[in-house]
Amino acid sequence: MKGEPMGTASHEETWVERFAAIDRITHAILFTTFLGLSLTGLPLLFADAPWARTMALLMGGYGVTGTLHRVFGFAMLFCFAFHVGRVVFRLYRKRGPTMLWGPDSLVPQPRDLFQMYDHFMYFLGRGPRPQFDRYTYWEKFDYWAVFWGMGIIGTSGLVLAFPEFVARFLPGDVFTIALLVHGEEALLAMVFIFTIHFFNGNLRPEKFPMDTVMFTGRIPLHELQDERPAEYERLVREGRLEHAFVPPPQRRLDLFGRFVGAIAISLGLVMVALTLIALLA
């Protein structure tokens, strides 16, 4: 990683697992459907933009994009339902306490606020880099932003997809609100993912142009020591470090990650540019 080719040097390195296969697959389905939804939804969100008609036509016209949008939407909701089901199952089975609180949990905790403050101080050169653990505060924000987005965009999307059914229970005003919320939340999600999330995970100088951990699932030991020292020390202290050791990532998987990642980042940045054109026009 870090821009060095995957040569003999990295084979001598020790690698640690960061994301299990199931999490990587969930993320892959999530970002594939997310890109599909963004591409098919953007022309409708900015229907008055100079590029909207052309973009819709390139994908086969509104009739096609409308259908694709629904297909991607349902696929994403199934993925979300699977994830929630898995979380609930694991909570119920064994991992309850560590999933809900502590360093291995994605639940925001007071420590995250302090670390965020320290991180800002570090940006300004007024302190050391915080001792991050397994999940940093911005990673937790990403997770919960997507969680919230799924709920809001998914619900409003279903309301808009089945208006006749929904109107049996709710007044017609709900469609106006659903359309507003669906579009604005989607805009928030798209621009956030394509700028902030891409920067935090891939485009920032230390990671540039991308980090393939979401494809390979593993990071070199020195990266764990550098970026997540609290987690490293915890693993050593609890005697779990050796259990986390894995063989180096497959070269093929890493290349695949770079290929798919390059497409995703390019598409995302193009859509940010289209959004800016639409907002400024």
């Binding site: 819709a56 016209g61 509104y62 208006p163 005003d173 956030f192």
Partner: protein, 413 residues
């Protein structure tokens, strides 16, 4: 009767004999009016030339076949100034005044927008044929081409600019229905074309419906019940046929689906704020993309017989609204029809929930991007510094390991 006629003939002959001596008693030999044969003596001679060498002969054969030639008119009947001219006559002749015979037409033409143009521009000169002749410039099917000798876009002489003719009426309808199809003159008039601003012009905004209604009487009858018609009748400005149907750019029924979507633009010329709120809706967004299977203005409001919402007969009245929604959304009821298709996020009175929801969403987006924008802007330079420091540390470490022994774990900057 025979006695009377013989008497008249005798008197006539006497008068004729006496006339020359009465009219010009001083002149030695008065010139008789040249006959058409006299004219043709020179004007059919291919050798004869004018002073400047141009040939005198002209194809007067077309005159014999023309409506005037067939009617037995002589050259001097039109070229009246030649009746008393010496031959060979002057090169420049007086302008022919068609109104001498066609006085009613002359009167109409003198009051028209074309009063500075001569009759010959449309009708021709020696070769004028009756309109009933298919070869005539003014035959029904030839009228558009005749008008287009001047009327092009941009205006200019024949052969330049784009055609302005109504491609639907003067194309498809004319080809199919012939004489009963409208051409330029059917709507604009012929000799008495008036500028559209003239209240008597069939193109005047108040007259357009009557002009179109001459053929489309059923549509006119329906339109007469609309709020648009009532407003025009009471002297106010409202949409007439040509405000929605692009005259000269008319589409046939095969263009209908596309036009149904495009017509929202026509409505928005007057109903701008309603068009804006429509554009915010799902219907409006989808139709903006050019997809026609979605409700546009006319699907809810109707077309020719649009009535105000307060009118119980209106498609969007409280009584009819559910039925109107059901045209596309069968099985829906009052809940569904309570949807506000012109909800305005800036109107707190009309749409309070939407008003506050919009503010909330704006704050959410603004807040998130402000915070993370700052976060990223501060992090980027720091991250760049880190990358350089780490590279340098890495390099130093490598050199150290190449040179001497290991120094253990190095600290971060």
């Amino acid at each position: 009767m025979p006695l009377f006629s013989r008497f008249t003939a005798l008197t006539g002959a006497l008068v004729l004999l006496a006339l020359p001596s009465l009219a010009a008693p001083a002149k030695a030999k008065p010139a008789p009016a040249p006959t058409s044969d006299d004219c043709l003596a020179c004007h059919s001679d291919p050798e004869a030339t004018r002073a400047d060498g141009k040939p005198l002969g002209r194809d007067l054969g077309t005159f014999a076949a023309s409506v005037h030639g067939q009617g037995g008119l002589a050259c001097t009947d039109c070229h009246a100034d030649l009746a008393s001219a010496e031959l060979p006559h002057a090169e420049k002749l007086a302008k022919v005044d068609c109104a001498t015979c066609h006085s009613d037409v002359g009167e109409k033409h003198a009051g028209s927008v074309h009063k500075a143009q001569s009759c010959t521009g449309c009708h021709g000169t020696h070769d004028i044929l009756p309109s009933s002749d298919p070869a005539s410039r003014t035959a029904h099917a030839n009228v558009p081409a005749t008008c287009e000798t001047c009327h092009r876009q941009p205006p200019g002489p024949a052969g330049r600019g784009k055609s302005v003719k109504d491609g639907f009426h003067v194309g498809k309808v004319l080809a199919e229905y012939g004489e009963s199809a409208p051409v330029c003159s059917t709507c604009h008039g012929a000799h008495d074309v008036l500028p559209p601003k003239d209240p008597k012009s069939p193109m005047h905004h108040d007259q357009v419906a009557a002009t179109c209604g001459a053929c489309h009487s059923d549509v006119k009858e329906t339109w007469d019940t609309s709020i648009h018609a009532q407003m025009i009748a009471s002297g106010r400005n409202a949409a007439t046929c040509s405000d929605c149907h692009a005259v000269h750019g008319m589409l046939g029924t095969e263009g209908m689906p596309l036009w149904r979507v495009a017509a929202t633009e026509e409505c928005s010329t007057c109903h701008a704020s309603k068009a804006e709120t429509y554009r915010d809706t799902f219907h409006g967004k989808v139709s903006s993309l050019g997809y026609e299977r979605v409700a546009t203005c006319s699907d809810c409001h109707g077309n020719h017989a649009i009535r105000p919402m307060e009118d119980p007969l209106s498609m969007v009245s409280a009584e009819n609204r559910v039925a109107t929604c059901q045209k596309c959304h069968p099985g829906t009821g009052a809940n569904f029809a309570a949807y506000d298709p012109h909800a305005d996020p800036h109107d707190r009175e009309r749409n309070p929930v939407l008003y506050y929801a919009t503010i909330f969403m704006k704050a959410l987006l603004g807040g998130t991007f402000a915070f993370f924008g700052l976060h990223t802007a501060l992090w980027a330079p720091r991250s760049l510094k880190d990358r350089r420091a780490r590279r340098a540390a890495h390099e130093a470490e490598r050199q150290a390991s190449q040179g001497a022994g290991d120094q253990g774990d190095g600290g971060r900057a």
